[in-house]
């Protein structure tokens, strides 16, 4: 079997906010087509780790290697790096003054400078894919939370990223709307998208994740395939966490 390509590799990543040491010597790699799920209690550093991966937070130490190239935030063009890494936020962050289709077309138009008809065609295909073709000309304020999040996924996909990051994509949703977002994400995973997902949805982690990383107090305490990590956690802290939520 051929070795899968390494999409992200981080070594000894450290991040502090003032005196608060949020990420401590994180090592991690994400291979092509993998779905890596980060779990852990609030404040364990999951979201910060995710945000370091596309440089919305800038690391204080360590290496971040994206598709084989070490990225230096001071020297490299982070905008170029971010074009390859899509991100979906807990609170959607759709552009409220633009229609659904305009949200999806925005980055291809102004960053990739695609022509309008091409961007529109691809935008509509993506909306079709997330099941929202009929909402193309509606403003985000008219959508449910689940629909907003699916638009946000389409918007990120419009840049044709190699990697998708999900920061608690279902945490702000009413319970009955969680399913539609998760099934869109499952579909992406089936199509082979490389994904890093921060979530509290253990069912999703179990079913879709190739790897599950349990984070506690700024460290990755345990990592493994989902069956193994959920059924036979080795670390006491993982056991405590899992018994508290399951």
């Amino acid at each position: 079997m051929s070795e899968k390509r390494e999409m992200i590799k981080i070594e000894k990543l450290n991040k502090s906010f003032g005196d608060l040491h949020v990420l401590k010597d994180i090592d991690m790699e994400v291979k092509e087509n993998d779905v890596v799920v980060l779990i852990g209690a609030s404040g364990s550093g999951k979201s910060t780790l995710l945000r370091c991966l596309n440089f919305l937070e800038i690391k204080n130490g360590g290496k971040i290697i994206v598709e084989g190239k070490e990225i230096d935030p001071k020297k490299d063009n982070l905008n170029k790096v971010r074009e390859q890494i899509g991100m979906v936020f807990q609170h959607f962050n759709l552009f409220p003054h633009k229609t659904v289709l305009q949200n999806v077309m925005e980055a291809p138009l102004v960053v990739k400078r695609k022509n309008r008809s091409q961007a529109e065609k691809e935008g509509k295909e993506l909306l079709e894919k997330v099941g929202l073709a009929e909402k193309a000309d509606v403003y985000p304020s008219k959508l449910s939370g689940g629909q907003k999040q699916r638009v946000a996924i389409a918007r990120a996909l419009a840049m044709k990223p190699d990697i998708m990051l999900f920061d608690e994509p279902t945490s702000a949703l009413d319970p009955e709307l969680v399913g539609e977002v998760l099934s869109t994400m499952k579909q992406l995973a089936r199509e082979g998208m490389t994904m890093v997902v921060v979530t509290h949805e253990m069912g999703f982690a179990r079913e879709v994740g190739d790897w599950v990383f349990y984070m506690h107090d700024g460290r990755i305490v345990e990592r493994g395939e989902p069956q193994e990590l959920f059924n036979n956690p080795k670390e006491q802290r993982t056991k405590d966490f899992l018994s508290s939520i399951l």
Binding site: N54, K80, H97
Partner: protein, 219 residues
């Protein structure tokens, strides 16, 4: 108080001279507000630049404008600029722009900072630069939010343009006081000019609320 019929007759008879004054008032107001918007945006950016020196420059400017009467500013511009052969019209217009710019800067600063920071993050995560996200995502939303207080400032700017009378501009207020003393009938002409201002403010308010409506399509 003048009788209504006297007021009405005078209103009709004085129409040509008031109309001229109104055009001048509108010119001074429109040009000064337009310049003030650019000044305001510029200083709003200085204030949110997070660069201490630039912030300090903006703060000093706003402090000076707030701390001195507009009439003093107009006279300083008038006497200061007369050396350079700059007309009374431009002295008054630039003074008003300088003055309103400070208030508009604070309006823009407030509304730009009120836009959720997730908007900037979303733009950046899509590979957009800081400047591009500001222009395409943040500013359109901030401008929409700024419209009601901006409309207010436009009205203040329109009314404040009457102070240009004191450097000899023959705008609405000057027309009224001059005609009033020439005809020994100040009260009638002051009431007439009040009506002109009310009509202009009404029109301005209507235009701003139409713009608000147009821009709120996404709500």
């Amino acid at each position: 108080m003048p009788s209504f019929s006297h007021f009405f007759e005078t209103f009709i008879d004085s129409y040509p001279v008031f109309f001229k004054g109104m055009l001048l008032t509108l010119q001074v107001t429109a040009v000064s507000i337009l310049i003030a918007i650019f000044i305001g945006l510029f200083f709003a950016f200085l204030k949110i630049s997070k660069i201490k020196v630039l912030e300090a420059i903006a703060n000093v400017y706003i402090y000076i404008v707030r701390g001195t009467p507009l009439i003093v500013q107009i006279f300083i511009f008038y006497f200061g600029l007369s050396e350079y052969n700059i007309s009374g019209f431009w002295s008054a217009t630039l003074a008003l722009a300088f003055h309103n710019g400070a208030y508009i800067a604070e309006i823009f600063r407030g509304t730009i900072q009120s836009i959720d920071k997730g908007q900037m993050e979303a733009g950046r995560s899509l590979g957009m630069t800081n400047a591009l996200t500001m222009r395409r995502i943040i500013l359109p939303q901030a401008f929409r939010r700024a419209l009601p207080p901006l409309g207010n400032q436009f009205i203040i700017g329109l009314k404040d343009s009457s102070l240009a009378a004191f450097i000899g501009m023959y705008e609405l207020f000057n027309v009224a006081t001059t005609a009033g003393s020439n005809n020994f009938d100040s009260m009638t002409y002051l009431l007439i000019v009040a009506v002109y201002y009310l009509i202009l403010v009404f029109l301005l308010t209507t235009i701003v609320s139409l713009m608000e409506k147009k821009l709120s399509a996404s709500d």
